[in-house]
Symmetry: C2
Subunit: 167 residues, 2 copies
Protein backbone atom coordinates (compact mmCIF):
# COMPACT_ATOMS: atom_id res chain seq x y z
CA UNK A 1 0.00 0.00 0.00
CA UNK A 2 1.10 3.56 -0.70
CA UNK A 3 2.53 5.58 2.16
CA UNK A 4 0.92 8.70 3.54
CA UNK A 5 3.65 10.96 2.24
CA UNK A 6 2.74 13.74 -0.12
CA UNK A 7 4.61 14.14 -3.30
CA UNK A 8 5.03 17.01 -5.74
CA UNK A 9 4.99 20.75 -5.14
CA UNK A 10 3.31 20.49 -1.78
CA UNK A 11 6.51 19.28 -0.20
CA UNK A 12 8.95 21.73 -1.74
CA UNK A 13 9.79 24.80 0.32
CA UNK A 14 8.03 28.07 -0.39
CA UNK A 15 9.83 30.31 -2.86
CA UNK A 16 10.25 34.04 -2.52
CA UNK A 17 7.37 34.80 -4.83
CA UNK A 18 5.04 32.50 -2.95
CA UNK A 19 6.02 34.07 0.35
CA UNK A 20 5.48 37.56 -0.99
CA UNK A 21 2.00 36.69 -2.22
CA UNK A 22 1.13 35.04 1.08
CA UNK A 23 2.33 38.15 2.88
CA UNK A 24 0.25 40.37 0.59
CA UNK A 25 -2.81 38.26 1.33
CA UNK A 26 -2.12 38.49 5.06
CA UNK A 27 -2.00 42.27 4.71
CA UNK A 28 -5.23 42.33 2.75
CA UNK A 29 -6.90 40.25 5.47
CA UNK A 30 -5.80 42.68 8.14
CA UNK A 31 -7.03 45.58 6.04
CA UNK A 32 -10.46 43.97 6.23
CA UNK A 33 -10.15 43.38 9.98
CA UNK A 34 -9.58 39.64 9.67
CA UNK A 35 -6.84 37.60 11.39
CA UNK A 36 -3.52 37.56 9.60
CA UNK A 37 -3.42 33.77 9.65
CA UNK A 38 -6.64 33.63 7.64
CA UNK A 39 -4.94 35.60 4.91
CA UNK A 40 -1.89 33.39 5.07
CA UNK A 41 -3.87 30.21 4.69
CA UNK A 42 -5.80 31.67 1.81
CA UNK A 43 -2.57 32.92 0.26
CA UNK A 44 -0.95 29.50 0.50
CA UNK A 45 -3.91 27.90 -1.23
CA UNK A 46 -3.86 30.72 -3.77
CA UNK A 47 -0.27 30.07 -4.83
CA UNK A 48 -0.59 26.30 -4.74
CA UNK A 49 -1.07 24.64 -8.12
CA UNK A 50 -3.11 21.90 -6.47
CA UNK A 51 -5.48 21.57 -3.52
CA UNK A 52 -3.82 21.18 -0.12
CA UNK A 53 -4.88 19.34 3.03
CA UNK A 54 -4.69 20.62 6.60
CA UNK A 55 -1.44 18.82 7.17
CA UNK A 56 0.20 20.58 4.22
CA UNK A 57 -1.02 23.90 5.55
CA UNK A 58 0.28 23.31 9.07
CA UNK A 59 3.68 22.24 7.88
CA UNK A 60 4.27 24.88 5.26
CA UNK A 61 2.92 27.78 7.31
CA UNK A 62 4.30 26.52 10.62
CA UNK A 63 1.01 26.91 12.39
CA UNK A 64 -0.72 24.55 14.78
CA UNK A 65 -3.43 22.02 14.02
CA UNK A 66 -5.98 24.13 15.82
CA UNK A 67 -5.12 27.28 13.93
CA UNK A 68 -5.31 25.52 10.59
CA UNK A 69 -8.66 23.99 11.49
CA UNK A 70 -10.18 27.21 12.75
CA UNK A 71 -8.76 29.27 9.94
CA UNK A 72 -10.19 26.93 7.34
CA UNK A 73 -13.50 26.92 9.15
CA UNK A 74 -13.71 30.70 8.86
CA UNK A 75 -12.64 30.64 5.24
CA UNK A 76 -15.36 28.10 4.52
CA UNK A 77 -17.92 30.32 6.24
CA UNK A 78 -16.85 33.15 3.94
CA UNK A 79 -16.91 30.71 1.02
CA UNK A 80 -13.36 31.79 0.31
CA UNK A 81 -12.24 28.16 0.03
CA UNK A 82 -13.91 25.04 -1.29
CA UNK A 83 -13.45 21.53 0.03
CA UNK A 84 -12.47 19.03 -2.61
CA UNK A 85 -12.27 15.30 -2.11
CA UNK A 86 -9.39 13.45 -3.72
CA UNK A 87 -10.35 9.91 -4.73
CA UNK A 88 -8.70 7.29 -2.56
CA UNK A 89 -7.77 9.90 0.06
CA UNK A 90 -9.53 10.24 3.37
CA UNK A 91 -8.42 13.77 4.10
CA UNK A 92 -10.18 16.85 2.91
CA UNK A 93 -8.35 19.03 0.43
CA UNK A 94 -8.95 22.70 -0.04
CA UNK A 95 -8.79 25.07 -2.99
CA UNK A 96 -9.34 28.82 -3.05
CA UNK A 97 -12.19 30.76 -4.60
CA UNK A 98 -10.28 33.04 -6.91
CA UNK A 99 -13.09 35.12 -8.40
CA UNK A 100 -13.00 38.54 -6.82
CA UNK A 101 -16.68 39.09 -7.42
CA UNK A 102 -17.53 35.91 -5.53
CA UNK A 103 -15.17 36.69 -2.68
CA UNK A 104 -16.42 40.22 -2.30
CA UNK A 105 -20.06 39.26 -2.60
CA UNK A 106 -19.70 36.54 0.01
CA UNK A 107 -17.76 38.76 2.37
CA UNK A 108 -20.36 41.48 2.15
CA UNK A 109 -23.15 39.00 2.73
CA UNK A 110 -21.52 37.11 5.60
CA UNK A 111 -19.66 39.92 7.32
CA UNK A 112 -21.61 43.11 6.86
CA UNK A 113 -25.21 42.18 6.22
CA UNK A 114 -25.79 40.55 9.64
CA UNK A 115 -24.43 43.58 11.47
CA UNK A 116 -26.53 45.93 9.38
CA UNK A 117 -29.54 43.81 10.27
CA UNK A 118 -29.02 44.08 14.01
CA UNK A 119 -28.38 47.78 13.50
CA UNK A 120 -31.74 48.10 11.79
CA UNK A 121 -33.53 46.38 14.68
CA UNK A 122 -31.98 48.68 17.23
CA UNK A 123 -32.81 51.75 15.21
CA UNK A 124 -36.41 50.65 14.73
CA UNK A 125 -36.78 50.12 18.45
CA UNK A 126 -35.28 53.52 19.15
CA UNK A 127 -37.60 55.21 16.69
CA UNK A 128 -40.61 53.47 18.14
CA UNK A 129 -39.60 54.39 21.65
CA UNK A 130 -39.16 58.04 20.70
CA UNK A 131 -42.56 58.20 19.00
CA UNK A 132 -44.40 58.86 22.25
CA UNK A 133 -41.59 60.69 24.01
CA UNK A 134 -42.44 64.36 23.60
CA UNK A 135 -39.90 65.32 26.25
CA UNK A 136 -37.05 64.29 23.93
CA UNK A 137 -35.32 67.25 22.35
CA UNK A 138 -35.83 68.17 18.72
CA UNK A 139 -32.13 67.85 18.17
CA UNK A 140 -32.09 64.24 19.27
CA UNK A 141 -35.11 63.42 17.12
CA UNK A 142 -33.34 64.87 14.12
CA UNK A 143 -30.18 62.95 14.81
CA UNK A 144 -32.05 59.67 15.08
CA UNK A 145 -33.76 60.41 11.78
CA UNK A 146 -30.43 61.17 10.20
CA UNK A 147 -29.00 57.94 11.53
CA UNK A 148 -31.90 56.05 9.97
CA UNK A 149 -31.12 57.65 6.63
CA UNK A 150 -27.46 56.64 7.03
CA UNK A 151 -28.56 53.13 7.65
CA UNK A 152 -30.81 53.09 4.60
CA UNK A 153 -28.00 54.36 2.41
CA UNK A 154 -25.56 51.82 3.76
CA UNK A 155 -28.08 49.04 3.25
CA UNK A 156 -28.59 49.99 -0.36
CA UNK A 157 -24.87 50.16 -0.91
CA UNK A 158 -24.15 46.50 -0.27
CA UNK A 159 -26.21 44.95 -3.08
CA UNK A 160 -25.10 47.78 -5.33
CA UNK A 161 -21.48 46.90 -4.64
CA UNK A 162 -22.03 43.27 -5.52
CA UNK A 163 -23.60 44.32 -8.79
CA UNK A 164 -20.76 46.65 -9.61
CA UNK A 165 -18.01 44.13 -9.21
CA UNK A 166 -19.85 41.75 -11.47
CA UNK A 167 -20.06 44.30 -14.29
Amino acid sequence: METNMHTGPATTALGETEQEIISLMAGAAQMLGLPKSLGEIYGLLYVSPEPLCMDDIMKRLHISLGSASQGLKQLRIFHAVRTVTVPGQRRDYYEPETELRQLLGNALREQFQPRLDTGRERLERLRHYLKDSPETSDHLHQRVEKLCRWHDNASQLLPLLSTLVKA
Copy 2:
Protein backbone atom coordinates in the same frame (compact mmCIF):
# COMPACT_ATOMS: atom_id res chain seq x y z
CA MET B 1 -15.53 86.23 36.75
CA GLU B 2 -17.43 83.25 35.51
CA THR B 3 -16.35 79.85 36.77
CA ASN B 4 -15.02 77.12 34.54
CA MET B 5 -18.12 75.00 35.02
CA HIS B 6 -20.09 74.09 31.98
CA THR B 7 -23.73 74.75 31.91
CA GLY B 8 -26.57 73.37 29.85
CA PRO B 9 -26.91 69.94 28.31
CA ALA B 10 -23.24 69.11 28.59
CA THR B 11 -23.58 68.62 32.33
CA THR B 12 -26.78 66.60 32.44
CA ALA B 13 -26.39 62.84 32.56
CA LEU B 14 -26.74 60.83 29.37
CA GLY B 15 -30.26 59.63 28.69
CA GLU B 16 -31.19 56.20 27.43
CA THR B 17 -31.51 57.36 23.86
CA GLU B 18 -28.14 59.04 23.90
CA GLN B 19 -26.54 55.93 25.34
CA GLU B 20 -28.15 53.72 22.73
CA ILE B 21 -26.90 55.91 19.89
CA ILE B 22 -23.41 55.99 21.39
CA SER B 23 -23.50 52.23 21.64
CA LEU B 24 -24.64 51.94 18.01
CA MET B 25 -21.76 54.15 16.93
CA ALA B 26 -19.32 52.05 18.95
CA GLY B 27 -20.61 48.97 17.12
CA ALA B 28 -20.29 50.65 13.75
CA ALA B 29 -16.70 51.58 14.56
CA GLN B 30 -15.88 48.00 15.43
CA MET B 31 -17.54 46.84 12.23
CA LEU B 32 -14.98 48.98 10.40
CA GLY B 33 -12.11 47.67 12.51
CA LEU B 34 -11.74 50.83 14.56
CA PRO B 35 -11.46 51.05 18.36
CA LYS B 36 -14.75 51.09 20.21
CA SER B 37 -13.81 54.25 22.07
CA LEU B 38 -13.47 56.12 18.79
CA GLY B 39 -17.07 55.28 18.02
CA GLU B 40 -18.16 56.32 21.50
CA ILE B 41 -16.49 59.70 21.26
CA TYR B 42 -17.99 60.28 17.86
CA GLY B 43 -21.38 59.12 19.14
CA LEU B 44 -21.25 61.50 22.09
CA LEU B 45 -20.48 64.42 19.80
CA TYR B 46 -23.21 63.19 17.46
CA VAL B 47 -25.93 63.34 20.09
CA SER B 48 -24.72 66.56 21.63
CA PRO B 49 -26.64 69.67 20.61
CA GLU B 50 -23.50 71.75 21.00
CA PRO B 51 -19.75 71.25 20.56
CA LEU B 52 -17.96 69.58 23.46
CA CYS B 53 -14.45 69.93 24.81
CA MET B 54 -12.11 67.14 25.89
CA ASP B 55 -13.07 67.57 29.48
CA ASP B 56 -16.76 67.03 28.70
CA ILE B 57 -15.87 63.91 26.77
CA MET B 58 -13.75 62.45 29.56
CA LYS B 59 -16.35 63.05 32.21
CA ARG B 60 -19.40 61.87 30.33
CA LEU B 61 -17.78 58.81 28.79
CA HIS B 62 -15.68 57.98 31.85
CA ILE B 63 -12.51 57.66 29.87
CA SER B 64 -9.06 58.97 30.62
CA LEU B 65 -7.44 62.14 29.37
CA GLY B 66 -5.10 60.15 27.16
CA SER B 67 -7.88 58.17 25.55
CA ALA B 68 -9.90 61.27 24.81
CA SER B 69 -6.88 63.01 23.32
CA GLN B 70 -5.84 60.08 21.17
CA GLY B 71 -9.36 59.28 20.11
CA LEU B 72 -9.96 62.85 18.99
CA LYS B 73 -6.64 62.84 17.18
CA GLN B 74 -7.71 59.83 15.15
CA LEU B 75 -11.12 61.30 14.48
CA ARG B 76 -9.45 64.47 13.24
CA ILE B 77 -7.21 62.43 10.94
CA PHE B 78 -10.34 60.83 9.48
CA HIS B 79 -11.96 64.26 9.32
CA ALA B 80 -14.83 62.79 11.29
CA VAL B 81 -14.77 65.73 13.73
CA ARG B 82 -14.03 69.41 13.32
CA THR B 83 -12.36 71.66 15.87
CA VAL B 84 -14.34 74.76 16.67
CA THR B 85 -13.12 77.65 18.76
CA VAL B 86 -15.54 79.26 21.15
CA PRO B 87 -14.85 82.98 21.64
CA GLY B 88 -13.49 83.78 25.07
CA GLN B 89 -12.67 80.10 25.71
CA ARG B 90 -9.20 78.70 25.58
CA ARG B 91 -10.13 75.09 25.10
CA ASP B 92 -10.83 73.48 21.80
CA TYR B 93 -14.35 72.30 21.16
CA TYR B 94 -15.33 69.55 18.79
CA GLU B 95 -18.31 68.88 16.57
CA PRO B 96 -18.99 65.87 14.37
CA GLU B 97 -19.05 65.67 10.61
CA THR B 98 -22.54 64.31 10.05
CA GLU B 99 -22.61 63.96 6.27
CA LEU B 100 -22.31 60.29 5.42
CA ARG B 101 -20.82 61.04 2.03
CA GLN B 102 -18.04 63.07 3.66
CA LEU B 103 -17.38 60.50 6.33
CA LEU B 104 -17.26 57.64 3.88
CA GLY B 105 -15.16 59.53 1.37
CA ASN B 106 -12.64 60.52 4.00
CA ALA B 107 -12.49 57.04 5.48
CA LEU B 108 -11.87 55.50 2.09
CA ARG B 109 -9.17 58.03 1.32
CA GLU B 110 -7.41 57.88 4.68
CA GLN B 111 -7.86 54.24 5.56
CA PHE B 112 -7.90 52.24 2.35
CA GLN B 113 -6.11 54.24 -0.30
CA PRO B 114 -2.69 54.19 1.45
CA ARG B 115 -2.83 50.42 1.85
CA LEU B 116 -3.85 49.95 -1.75
CA ASP B 117 -0.89 52.10 -2.74
CA THR B 118 1.65 49.99 -0.87
CA GLY B 119 -0.05 46.93 -2.32
CA ARG B 120 0.47 48.32 -5.81
CA GLU B 121 4.18 48.88 -5.18
CA ARG B 122 4.69 45.36 -3.96
CA LEU B 123 2.81 43.91 -6.89
CA GLU B 124 4.78 45.98 -9.38
CA ARG B 125 8.02 44.81 -7.86
CA LEU B 126 6.84 41.21 -7.97
CA ARG B 127 5.84 41.52 -11.60
CA HIS B 128 9.14 43.08 -12.53
CA TYR B 129 11.04 40.42 -10.68
CA LEU B 130 9.13 37.64 -12.44
CA LYS B 131 9.71 39.16 -15.88
CA ASP B 132 13.11 37.55 -16.27
CA SER B 133 12.40 34.48 -14.18
CA PRO B 134 11.65 31.77 -16.71
CA GLU B 135 12.02 29.10 -14.06
CA THR B 136 8.84 30.31 -12.33
CA SER B 137 5.87 28.09 -13.02
CA ASP B 138 3.11 29.15 -15.37
CA HIS B 139 0.63 28.72 -12.56
CA LEU B 140 2.38 31.27 -10.41
CA HIS B 141 2.66 33.71 -13.29
CA GLN B 142 -1.06 33.42 -13.84
CA ARG B 143 -1.85 33.95 -10.21
CA VAL B 144 0.27 37.07 -10.02
CA GLU B 145 -1.50 38.41 -13.09
CA LYS B 146 -4.85 37.66 -11.52
CA LEU B 147 -3.81 39.42 -8.33
CA CYS B 148 -2.88 42.48 -10.38
CA ARG B 149 -6.34 42.46 -11.93
CA TRP B 150 -7.88 42.20 -8.44
CA HIS B 151 -5.87 45.17 -7.42
CA ASP B 152 -6.95 47.20 -10.43
CA ASN B 153 -10.58 46.42 -9.75
CA ALA B 154 -10.29 47.33 -6.10
CA SER B 155 -8.53 50.57 -6.99
CA GLN B 156 -11.29 51.56 -9.35
CA LEU B 157 -13.89 50.73 -6.76
CA LEU B 158 -12.86 53.35 -4.22
CA PRO B 159 -13.48 56.49 -6.29
CA LEU B 160 -16.60 54.86 -7.68
CA LEU B 161 -17.91 54.35 -4.16
CA SER B 162 -17.33 57.97 -3.26
CA THR B 163 -19.26 59.00 -6.34
CA LEU B 164 -22.11 56.68 -5.54
CA VAL B 165 -22.72 57.93 -2.06
CA LYS B 166 -22.85 61.48 -3.32
CA ALA B 167 -25.54 60.67 -5.86
